[in-house]
Subunit: 315 residues, 2 copies
Amino acid sequence: MKLPNIADIHAAAARINGRVRVTPVLTSSAIDAASGASIWFKCENLQHMGAFKFRGASNAVWALADDAAARGVLTHSSGNHGAALGLAARERGIPAHIVVPENAPAIKIANMRASDAHLHFCAPTLAAREHAAAQVQVHTGSILIHPFTHLEVIAGQGTAVLELLAAEPRLEAILVPVGGGGLLAGTAIATHAHNPGITVFAAEPEGAADAFRAMASGQLEQHPIADTICDGLRAGIGEINFQIMRREAVQVLIASDAETATAMRMIWDRLKLIVEPSAAVCLAVMLRHAEVFRGRRVGVILSGGNVDLDALPWR
Amino acid sequence: MKLPNIADIHAAAARINGRVRVTPVLTSSAIDAASGASIWFKCENLQHMGAFKFRGASNAVWALADDAAARGVLTHSSGNHGAALGLAARERGIPAHIVVPENAPAIKIANMRASDAHLHFCAPTLAAREHAAAQVQVHTGSILIHPFTHLEVIAGQGTAVLELLAAEPRLEAILVPVGGGGLLAGTAIATHAHNPGITVFAAEPEGAADAFRAMASGQLEQHPIADTICDGLRAGIGEINFQIMRREAVQVLIASDAETATAMRMIWDRLKLIVEPSAAVCLAVMLRHAEVFRGRRVGVILSGGNVDLDALPWR
């Protein structure tokens, strides 16, 4: 299987230029003081659909040839990728089908519905999901856009850090959350093309720490049912994403849900930004492992802001 | 008394350049659909200290001659202006004294404390405030920087809309909240220097609608004790601010606290931004008076984001 490379990411950046937002990069002296580092936050919570996922989805949708695109696209998603693919498909004028686990957060289901995608609900298991997806493909001929192993999805996710490094080229470390690993893989490739000396870190919740264990053991690990408030990070790492992580020597650090809730509150309070737990886990990791980041210039991708305002983790 | 003019605002922009953030301008297709208008949001909640107030405070502090500055600055404030003045004074290395009503919101008191300003608490009445301020001046010789009638404060506040109009020059209407009227006065002067054909609107909470009544009667109105969740808009309009409002033909529109809470929730949900009620009142006014704004290109200044995350108005 071809792995994405920096040329794919530059092609993605050109393809989605004008379709995705160049999101702001923000700083906070209070958070710098709390962490001991200097942090540049790339605000992908302010991206269309409230998450970086719109980058990869847009790139995948617009990379399709016209005849393929006309058959529509299909994915399975607990939320942000599904909504992003739905919106990208609507902008291209093609159908989108999304297989959704019944336990997906209400706000993410609402976002998917708002995109006019066709939703197909299934039980929250791998087998049920694959069965449902196969059924949809048989009936529609639509093209599967996997949420995190699709080459053009990974390439699209890698465009966020290109913008971050353009805004602040002297970063010494980059930190992104890891679930399936699409953002992480794209980020690592783009970052090391810019400067191989930058360390790429991944933040992972303790309750879904398969990437952490896989990097320690050197092989993909069984992924038990995830137990974390980071609903965007419950997937196990994809195989090609794991290959890229190893090649790029990504460092995985973990945080507890309580630490993530505290970090999320700090971002809301100090940056005035709404971020979801799956984004806040990065700051949680920085506060837990302060010695790793102290005195360094760190770029953090705030991956998304789709959170239910009636169910905040610190309440 | 000399009224500020566009030259003062341009001088302010030059003086505070590099000291204040050029905040992002964001849009939301969902909010556009809800309002029927096309809205560009100028995100002053992402300004240093979480409010536009840092513009006026910085301009006033850095406009002082060295010998005057050395005596320190003084103000009275329920929050954002005090914290902004404290931070600006710290950056210049001079003392700041703030007379604070005892009922100011905890988050705003915390922000003032964080700026290293000297806080002087008083009862929440005009008489107690003036007495306390006079005492501080006698003892310190510090220079009063009034929160909304000081010329350099008004000029500094006017710099936000310069940036907004640079980002989107074709705006047909500008909407800002009104309390004491500093932001409104600076905005009206700068907007009409850019294009006299742009209508400037002010949004005011029903429970503190003295500017609305004053524009209707043509004279300053008694300002009873304010009753609104918009804690930044409880002050009565300043006299020179009222003069400028009349000259610039500002249109004042009002909204209820319930409407403001709904609008605030919409901004949190859709823009992923934390704004305080005093900022959300602008969208509340747009939704209440949709016929006024339908089909128009509207610039809205989101004035601040300093809100207690444990006391949200929709809970």
